[in-house]
Symmetry: none
Subunit: 536 residues, 2 copies
């Protein structure tokens, strides 16, 4: 085995330690293949974290395989970390196969999990507090003698410290004395609040003199704050996961932690330029784990810099800093103006600028667009989640004519529940495209799906570009559904072409007619994106 | 106008102030009707918050209407709060129509938003710092003279304090001196971290002697921690939103804030028993706003007490406290991965008792109901918001037979868009009731409405009781709508008979079939309520 290249080791004064691949993978719904783990590790390395904890080699074939493949790759910033436990009670580290597997992984850094709560030592480990200390010291020394850097995770440290501070401190001292570079205090149950974390870390730093790290879970909704509280108290190593993935509620989210350190503390913890990649990397990792990126994640969420209120929008035009705590570009995100019923001229102008239309010179045009949006919103349309429909509206007003590729004559949707209980859906559309009349029928698992297939079937001969478009998401909302009121249905459709996605809206008395409108906008926008020019 | 009833005023020593209906509604994707707002307010009142900020009366017809309807209702715990701004520059509060609308709302409490950052006064308000102080003092005094309690939200307080502490403090003093009961420091941009919040609140409390509240936004991922930091520093009023809904990333989440105060601080801030309702209320509010409840929300998320690691699972068997920071039942959640709150034996028994069925003696029956609920929930049914469908299920299991008044043979729904643009909806049902075959056709403004009319038309001769029933609300949710997935539609229908309302659920591949199921349950339940006995 060749020694891993450690020349890319980051400045050692402060550690950004990522455990997405180990602790983050405990999140309900995440199941990573070796290829997934490698892909995530590359993203994290690009982002510039100092350490990537890859898993527990020896615990399962997947993690062993990950380390075999990962150590062959050229890492730019990060060092790979193997996670494992202290040796078993009543043996030696040299004889313990679990410890052997950690060395065999070839990882230059090893994190050992150790019990620091005496009650857990007895109940879960079923050994004595003294033997637990011996296990820690022996295992750390053994790995150090083999040339590895060692970090020790003190599991349940805060609860342990609160029950028996003397023993918890002894665990920290034992690990540090045996040669652990960093001793990490873990809030394993996630029950801590920042004030407690800060007081405890401060005492541990003062009492032991050890280099201290923090590992926080988000069960109280305070994992980011707990991590920062530990840094305030002297911790110089933070363990986090991308997007806060992790068991139960999750772990401290890497992105708001590093953003706070860089932008609020003025601490350089990432390579130059990395922070601007944060939004992209957050979304890319969500793609790999196959979870929809949280729209409301701090800094990197789609909504993180989205403004709705007209009151705010007019102030933002004066000075964006008035309603933003940072410039979104610092984290690779951007400001979005939501077109809502609270909106006025200022947000329309900002939104136009975002879409590449300079409207500011033309007060009359902006006035027309504002009036049109208000009129549509009164009917139940909403453009804040339907950018493509808004852009079509804007485009129509700017060019003075409707951007349409086809013209509807009529459609019909039939849903039938037969006596045997099966349900059939069939739809027919009649329309005109490039001067020709088209009649097409489709079947589907619902009336809208049947309508979509009929429309697509009818148009694909004329517009082969439509073959690439896919219905990605479909939402229905009934508006004003209370008694006596005439209820209205709003449909939002998200469509993709493999490289990007767009959303469109339709509003009508009934769900099928509303869906038809959203589908019509979706296909029109898709054809515009494909570079086609409207035919009428 | 009659004076609002304030006899339900909570203990005034500490305020839990909810602004879901005002600031929470700024969240991207939330659009509340008056009925939605009333439904959310009832849930919040059940939960026992002290204040419910309902909106900005006068700013739009919807908020004005909300206050008109809300003040007629009997509130158990909360007082209604109207939100508005200080008077315009260069006029008097008595002459300002916006201030007039606040009084006209009838709300016993009014929150005024005031600028406390001198730069905003100049740039956004375009007036002088002195006039801003006069606007605050004049408006507070005017509202106090009219017998209202007044809270003042200091917008952008933390940024303002950091730029010009003297002016920010002067704003607090002015508001308090004029008669505001609480002055709330708002982190409007959400850029603060707990240490800064704590230091600032401490200084403001010491310097001004005013009663201080906190309003935190979650842009750094620290809104809960910032709220608690302010409490640590002497704030006695916390402004939060259910599920953390709010502009951009969101507001301080009500649920982890009150859970921390009750469970970690040992502070009673809710009525007895309310905390155990927290999970249910969080999910119910998500249903009303039509957002999927976050599975990873602290305390109340489906995954909040879900355990995956084998290591943890075995330790949990030894002692659940080893891996849980609190007993999940304290917040109405549970440790196992349950499909819903309902799926446990204890909750089924409780729910049965609530509905008048004593199930506790019959373990086998309860086991059968639990199994049936789980099986249905796997298909996408949810009974949290569909009590009537749950009662029918329970009744069927208790009596050993289906409670049905009619039996479907088949139905068909046709929706047509004609060349002139008009849309027709027609539905036909074929069914058996009291031994007779009925064929009926209905028209409506949508396919579901047409189906409802056909069903009603077909049954009313046999069951004249149906004439009193009215469709009150209708909600559609698409489950698992991402590409490649087979998507499922869930429909929730609320029906009323003039004295009470009940909700039913249907799940199917398509919206019409799902609606049919919910309608069938709705009418069956309505006939049971009317005292009829099932015929087959």
């Amino acid at each position: 085995m060749t020694a891993p290249d450690t020349s890319a080791a980051p400045d050692d004064g402060f550690h950004v330690f990522d455990t997405t691949l180990r602790d983050g993978a405990q999140r309900e719904g995440i199941n990573l293949t070796v290829a997934d783990k490698l892909a995530i590790a590359r993203h994290l390395d690009d982002f510039g974290v100092g350490f990537i904890e890859g898993g527990w080699p020896g615990a399962n074939p997947r993690d062993t395989e990950f380390f075999r493949r990962a150590r062959e790759l050229p890492w730019r910033h990060a060092q790979l970390v193997a996670f494992g436990a202290t040796r078993k009670a009543g043996t030696t580290a040299a004889e313990d196969p679990q410890v052997r597997a950690l060395l065999d992984s070839g990882a230059p850094v090893i994190t050992l999990v150790a019990k620091s709560h005496d009650r857990h030592v007895e109940l879960a480990l079923r050994t004595t507090p003294d033997e637990n200390l011996a296990m820690i010291a022996d295992t750390v020394r053994h790995l150090r003698a083999a040339g590895r850097r060692v970090f020790v995770d003190c599991e349940h440290f805060f609860d342990g410290y609160s029950d028996n501070p003397g023993y918890a401190l002894e665990v920290v001292r034992t690990a540090a004395t045996a040669g652990a570079d960093v001793v990490i205090l873990c809030d394993t149950n996630g029950g801590m609040l920042p004030a407690q974390v800060q007081a405890t870390v401060r005492t541990v730093v003062a009492d032991t003199g050890a280099r201290i790290g923090i590992h926080a879970q988000d069960d109280t909704g305070c994992a980011v704050a707990n991590t920062l509280a530990a840094v305030d108290a002297g911790a110089t190593h933070v363990q986090c996961t991308a997007n806060g993935y992790g068991e139960r509620v999750g772990n401290a989210n890497l992105f708001p932690v590093v953003a706070a350190l860089e932008l609020k503390y003025g601490k350089r913890v990432l390579p130059p330029g990395a922070l601007q990649e944060m939004t992209r990397i957050s979304h890319a990792i969500a793609e790999v784990v196959n979870l929809t990126p949280s729209t409301h994640q701090p800094y990197v969420g789609l909504s993180a810099f989205a403004h709705k209120a007209g009151l705010h929008a007019s102030a933002i035009k004066v000075d964006p800093d008035l309603y933003q705590h940072i410039d979104p570009e610092l984290v690779g995100n951007s400001m979005r103006m939501l077109v809502s019923d609270m909106a006025g001229r200022a947000s329309i102008e900002l939104k136009g600028r975002e879409l590449g239309y300079d409207l500011e010179g033309d007060r009359e045009l902006v006035g027309r667009i504002v009036a049109r949006v208000k009129e549509q919103e009164l009917k139940g349309y909403t453009y804040e989640a339907a950018d493509a429909s808004f852009e079509l509206l804007l485009r129509d007003e700017v060019t003075g004519r409707a951007s349409r590729f086809f013209r509807l004559e009529s459609w019909r949707a039939i849903t039938d529940q037969r006596p045997d209980g099966t349900v059939d859906n069939e739809a027919t559309v009649k329309l005109w495209a490039k001067g020709e009349r088209v009649v097409a029928t489709g079947e589907g698992n619902g009336p809208v799906n049947a309508l979509d297939r009929a429309l697509r079937g009818g148009l694909e001969r004329t517009f082969p570009e439509l073959a690439r478009l896919q219905l990605v998401d479909y939402k229905v909302r009934i508006l004003a559904g209370r008694s006596g009121t005439h209820s209205t249905t709003r449909v939002l459709i998200t469509t993709g072409d493999g490289t990007s996605e767009w959303s469109t809206v339709g509003v009508a008395d009934n769900v099928i007619a509303a869906s038809w409108q959203a589908l019509e906008d979706a296909y029109t926008y898709g054809l515009l994106r494909a570079g086609l020019r409207p035919t009428d």
